[in-house]
């Protein structure tokens, strides 16, 4: 499903070079729930961005469903993100001018779904995350936990097979965080969605079947 072969990522800023990832290889099978743990600056977010085709490796290859992403054009990468991958960010990253419902509809609009179709899908997803009563509220009128649930619904809009979560509970209180993690677990167990989750919170990582530990751009431990 997801395969990284000898991936290195080097950031250059002026005269400095920062090696964010150094020869990382990993495999995630379909339906797996994998956590990536590490301190801040360890390269775990970089790893997630590479899997999510938001960034390109300096060296090495990233395969998604057997497709070598380095061979894809910007259009191809965009379509891969749109149709196969769902993102959940620490900052929720909802579009502030759009209501919860419209935020969830957005990826389906990018895909060209009909108005009726996308409305139905968005309503369905919002009720799955328990926000059927808040559909017409703007993000600023929702709590952090509610916003993150909207973000989950949005990530699922085009029925992706991979869910990438970057510190999904990082900005939430324990209770909301737990509710969000329950939803993610349910999606993994019941819908068979492959989940890759980045966190530094051990209680969150516990939800995963496998945990990769990463320090200074190198995977040090898999458990």
């Amino acid at each position: 499903m997801i395969r990284l072969v000898d991936v290195t990522k080097v950031y250059r800023s002026g005269a400095y070079e920062v090696v964010a990832l150094n020869g990382v290889s990993m495999n995630v099978e379909t339906g797996e729930f994998v956590a990536i743990m590490g301190p801040s600056g360890s390269g775990k977010s970089t790893l997630l961005n590479l899997i999510g085709c938001l960034d390109k490796p300096t060296e090495g290859k990233v395969f998604i469903n057997g497709v070598d992403t380095s061979q894809l054009s910007d259009k191809g990468l965009t379509e891969l993100r749109r149709d196969t991958i769902g993102f959940i960010f620490q900052q929720y990253n909802l579009i502030p001018t759009l209501t919860a419902l419209e935020n969830v509809e957005l990826p389906t609009i990018f895909k060209g779904a009909s108005k009726l179709e996308r409305r139905k899908r968005a309503e369905e997803l919002l009720s799955i995350v328990g926000l059927e009563d808040e559909m017409h509220r703007k993000p600023s009128e929702l709590s952090g936990g509610q916003q993150q649930r909207v973000a989950i619904a949005r990530a699922l809009a085009n029925n992706p097979s991979i869910l990438l979560c970057d510190e999904p509970t990082g900005n939430l209180d324990t209770k909301s965080g737990k509710a969000v993690m329950e939803i993610i677990r349910k999606l993994n167990e019941e819908e068979g969605v492959t989940v890759v989750l980045v966190t530094h919170d051990p209680s969150v990582a516990e939800f995963a079947e496998r945990i990769y530990k990463i320090i200074d751009g190198v995977i040090t431990d898999v458990s």
Partner: protein, 371 residues
């Protein structure tokens, strides 16, 4: 949906959007108002010339040494078809004696005065004279007054209405008498012949006939068409209009720069959002479209309001400069309003092109990291 998204994005910075709309509005209004005014000005000037368009002036071919047109040539002219009327004119300058005052005036020998000029007071009678408005005013001529020219006494039967600029003959400072009476004063041939053709399309045919019948062996007369002068005036006005509109376009250019500025600020402020949209599956083209749609809304709103207001602007300038707004509702006004609106919309789109392109070229990951 993109339209709705764009509308809401503009709503986020209402003041800024309003200022952009006002900028475009002023630009469009300036262009369209000036267009309308130029057109009114042209119409006002043309008013004097329009009924002269079917006139041809036949003059002696001075370059060939001809100083006058003889009777035979005039009768040849009369035989050419297409002409509605042929008005030969004799003229010379002579001292006029009125109540003991002696002043030099132009004496025109002309029949059918009423075909060329309008009589304001009195009428035209055989054996009597008609005075031009300026000379009548200067000498305080009255209907029935007696003037003496070269010992011949004439009674003033009418006074002409003041004529504007004319290219054929100007009667304002002249005394007009019949050809027959002119003969009593001076033995002269004709100085010019004014020809009115039945319709504008016969002008060329008439000129060709003159060349064939009169100028076949040598050039005796020149034919001068007023239509050409009118076309020339129209050209000059066209150039003036373009010049004035170019000045007005500066304000639209400024509006364009302000949209460019606003959009650049907006792309910077929304960098992260752009990153999010790219992450969840928006093409570069989609981002481009969202920003261009915003500019389109600004452009359309500003241009349409500006277009409507330009009627008021045109009215104001017309009243101020021409003292009349009777030419406001010409078809050409609508044309200038439409032109202004199109320019306004185009300015908004062109100005937004760079910021929109820049937004669309953002790398998703860079954009997402932006704080």
């Amino acid at each position: 949906m993109y339209l709705e998204l764009a509308r809401r994005n503009l709503g986020r910075a209402k003041m800024r959007s309003a200022l952009a709309v006002i900028g475009i509005l002023i630009g469009v209004m300036a262009i369209a108002s000036i267009g309308i005014f130029s057109e009114s000005l042209k119409a006002t000037v043309m008013e004097n010339f329009q009924d002269l368009a079917n006139e041809l002036i036949v003059t002696p071919a001075y370059s060939q040494g001809y100083l006058s047109i003889d009777e035979r040539t005039v009768s040849k002219l009369r035989k050419i078809p297409y002409a509605e009327s042929i008005i030969p004119i004799k003229s010379y300058t002579e001292l006029l004696d009125y109540r003991g005052k002696k002043v030099p005036v132009n004496i025109f020998g002309i029949d059918y005065v009423e075909e060329l000029f309008e009589v304001e007071k009195g009428g035209i009678r055989r054996g009597e004279a008609v005075a031009g408005s300026k000379i009548a005013e200067r000498l305080n001529l009255r209907i029935g007054g007696k003037i003496i020219i070269k010992g011949e006494e004439f009674r003033i039967s009418g006074i002409l209405k003041e004529e504007g600029a004319r290219f054929d003959i100007n009667p304002n400072n002249a005394i007009l008498i019949s050809i027959e009476d002119f003969g009593k004063l001076k033995d002269a041939e004709y100085s010019k012949v004014i020809v009115k053709v039945e319709s504008l399309e016969y002008i060329e045919a008439f000129k060709k006939s003159v060349d064939r019948i009169i100028n076949s062996r040598e050039e005796k007369v020149s034919v001068f068409e007023l239509k050409m002068i009118i076309e020339r005036i129209e050209d000059v006005f066209g150039q003036m209009t373009i010049f004035l509109m170019a000045i007005a376009a500066v304000s639209l250019f400024v509006a364009g720069v302000s949209i460019l500025n606003i959009m650049l600020m907006s792309t910077i402020e929304r960098t992260k959002e752009i990153g999010v949209m790219r992450a969840i599956g928006a093409y570069r083209g989609t981002i481009l479209r969202i920003f261009l749609t915003e500019a389109l809304i600004l452009g359309v709103a500003g241009s349409i309001i500006g277009g409507v207001l330009s009627l008021a602007g045109g009215y104001a300038i017309d009243m101020l400069v021409l003292g009349s707004a009777k030419y406001i509702f010409q078809a050409s006004s609508v044309l200038y309003i439409v032109e202004g609106i199109l320019f306004g919309i185009a300015t908004a789109l062109v100005s937004a092109a760079y910021p929109a392109w820049k937004a669309s070229r953002l790398e998703p990951i860079e954009a997402l990291r932006y704080e």
